[in-house]
């Protein structure tokens, strides 16, 4: 299986397998995006061909524009993702610093307690989370989603960031202390800038599941004005199920932002996964 590239036959076989699998991975995405630019007839007559001057059409996008409030959904998703991300990074880094920098009674226990959430999915507490949000009047607000996603993202963030913070030079921090810097200064001015690459990795890991989540928007914030893009696309597709142009366009619109982010951050993401797995 480990195909050494000494012999050309093996090299060709390796490329053949990889090209075949890449085609399987990309084909469905391409079919959706390409067909969203075609007229209804062309979608059905020749689903596998590219749009030409005759079959090109933006009717699907026009329907999405007119019928769905995608700007609002997009805005909601952005607010929820950015706010949760900021809270996860700030609070996660603070907790990771406390756990990796200071020795205190219960340190290991606290680390284990926070790590519990890496394996146990937050979804299992949904019944009580909904009751909590109803009791505090947060149902159908973006705050509810932000709180849930912050709690969901924290365990992994604390775990990864404390690994990295242990590597920050001790001499540097002690030099800061001798210069009379407070512990808060040391954290914000010295340590935080040094772990910035790790923060970027955590950011990408945290962001994708939040942006793509369907469960919590469906249960905690299904109102029209708080719908996220994922839920908005789901509902829109449900209503326009027979309007293939609109459905394909809505799907393409949902693919694009994630794809752009992925292209920007893919190096960070891949480096993060590979660095974490070596441990």
């Amino acid at each position: 299986m480990s195909i050494a590239t000494h012999s050309p036959v093996r090299s060709i076989a390796a490329h053949a397998i990889l090209i075949a699998y890449t085609a399987i991975a990309l084909f469905p995405v391409l079919v959706i995006v390409v067909n969203s630019f075609k007229t209804r007839n062309a979608i059905f007559r020749s689903p596998l061909s590219l749009p030409d001057a005759e079959t090109f059409s933006l009717i699907g996008y026009q329907t999405v524009w007119a019928q769905g409030d995608f700007i609002l959904y997009f805005q909601n998703s952005l607010v929820v993702t950015v706010a949760s991300l900021a809270l996860v990074l700030l609070f996660g880094a603070m907790a990771a610093f406390a756990l990796s920098e200071y020795r205190f009674r219960g340190n290991t226990l606290m680390g284990l307690y926070l790590a519990l959430g890496i394996m146990i999915p937050i979804r299992l507490g949904t019944v009580a989370i909904l009751q909590l949000m109803v009791a505090s009047g947060l149902v159908n607000t973006l705050t509810a989603l932000i709180l849930v996603y912050t709690a969901q993202g924290l365990p992994l963030a604390v775990f990864i960031l404390s690994e990295f913070m242990q590597q920050v030079s001790k001499d540097l921090k002690d030099a800061g202390r001798i210069d009379g810097l407070s512990e808060y200064h040391i954290f914000f001015r010295l340590v935080l800038p040094l772990v910035r690459p790790a923060m970027a990795t955590v950011a990408v890991f945290t962001m994708i599941p939040i942006w793509n989540d369907l469960w919590f928007p469906l249960i905690l914030a299904p109102a029209e004005e708080t719908k996220t893009v994922t839920l908005g696309a789901q509902v829109f597709i449900g209503q326009f199920v027979t309007n293939w142009n609109a459905v394909l366009s809505a799907l393409s619109l949902a693919i694009l932002p994630v794809l752009v982010l992925y292209v920007i951050f893919s190096r960070q993401l891949i480096r993060g996964i590979t660095a974490g797995a070596v441990k």
Binding site: S2, T22, P47, Y102, L124, W211, A254, V278
Partner: protein
């Protein structure tokens, strides 16, 4: 050891650093988790929560109105997991093994492309595949026709006997990138001396993979298996996007996540039931906990970790 630990004063800053994360995590995740477990011992009778002990669990397991759906969902979920283990992880390992071979050109381009489905939302994946497999559109039949296999086509998502396997394979398609990346990383971290030593002993190619590399990446395969287990027994979105909350046809694709959603939230004529919802969530919690403990205490202890 930090300098401040030698002072006898109260170190408030530790509390300040920990407080926000611990408070949010406890209030929004841990307490609701235990709250849900607790709710499964209660039942609403005349708008009042009454303690009923294990009655809800007995209803779920043995009451004919519930048990058929529950065992169906559990069985489907197990099949969902088996397909992932049998298809997703071997394909991931194969791709990683090929990608990690030295002097392979375009390796990073392949890696980036194969990972794309993993970042897409379930709505896109579920609905996109539903359209592609739809007999109305005919993308799938025309592709099969091109390779001369048109007679194999069936409305896979619409037939009870195929729907669950089809959805499992769609999920495999989406997530194959994760085992691929993790195994790839593990393979790259094998030091060159070990490979060279194997080559000196004449162990190359396939037998090198089976005898040298595979034992070294077993810990990563263990982690991937437990991640797959947790993700599969907690899955919901894909089934909901492709088949709706009723997990059709005729509940053939119902898994614990969709069953929990319908029970807790209600659907169409069925009224939502928070205590039975909690009971199902508690069962899911116990299944996932059992899987994680099995991994931590049995699998991980037996696997030798090699320090390079």
């Amino acid at each position: 050891m930090s300098i401040s630990s030698e002072k006898p004063t109260v170190r408030w800053h530790i509390g300040v650093f920990l407080a926000p994360a611990v408070l949010i995590y406890t209030a929004v995740m841990i307490l609701p988790l235990f709250g849900t477990l607790q709710l499964s011992f209660f039942r609403m009778i005349d708008r009042e929560a009454v303690f009923v002990g294990l009655e809800n669990f007995r209803t779920l397991f043995f009451d004919p109105r519930w048990s058929a759906s529950f065992w169906n969902a559990l069985g489907n979920n197990t099949w969902f997991f088996i397909i992932h283990m049998l298809v997703q992880n071997p394909i991931g390992i194969l791709l990683a093994a090929i990608l990690s071979s030295p002097r392979l050109r375009l390796a990073s381009a392949y890696r980036t492309a194969i990972f794309i489905p993993t970042i897409l939302s379930f709505v896109i994946v579920g609905f996109g595949w539903k359209l592609i497999l739809s007999p109305i559109w005919g993308v799938a039949p025309s592709i099969l026709d091109a390779v001369g296999l048109k007679m194999l086509f069936a409305p896979w998502l619409g037939k009870e006997e195929y729907a669950l396997t089809t959805l499992s394979l769609i999920s495999v398609w989406q997530f194959v990138g994760i085992p691929m990346m993790l195994i790839y990383a593990a393979l790259l971290s094998i030091p060159d001396d070990i490979i060279e030593a194997a080559e000196c002993d004449g162990v190359t190619g396939m037998s090198q993979f089976w005898k040298v590399k595979l034992p070294l990446i077993l810990p990563s395969i263990g982690i991937i298996s437990v991640l797959t287990f947790v993700a599969n027994f907690n899955a919901f979105d894909l089934i909901y996007s492709a088949q709706g909350a009723l997990a059709g046809p005729n509940y053939a694709t119902d898994i614990l996540g969709t069953f929990l959603y319908r029970t807790f939230f209600g659907f169409q004529l069925q009224i939502g039931d928070a205590s039975m919802g909690s009971t199902i969530a508690s069962i899911m919690f116990l299944i996932i906990l059992a899987g994680v403990c099995f991994y931590l205490f049995i699998i991980q202890r037996r696997l030798r970790r090699y320090q390079f």
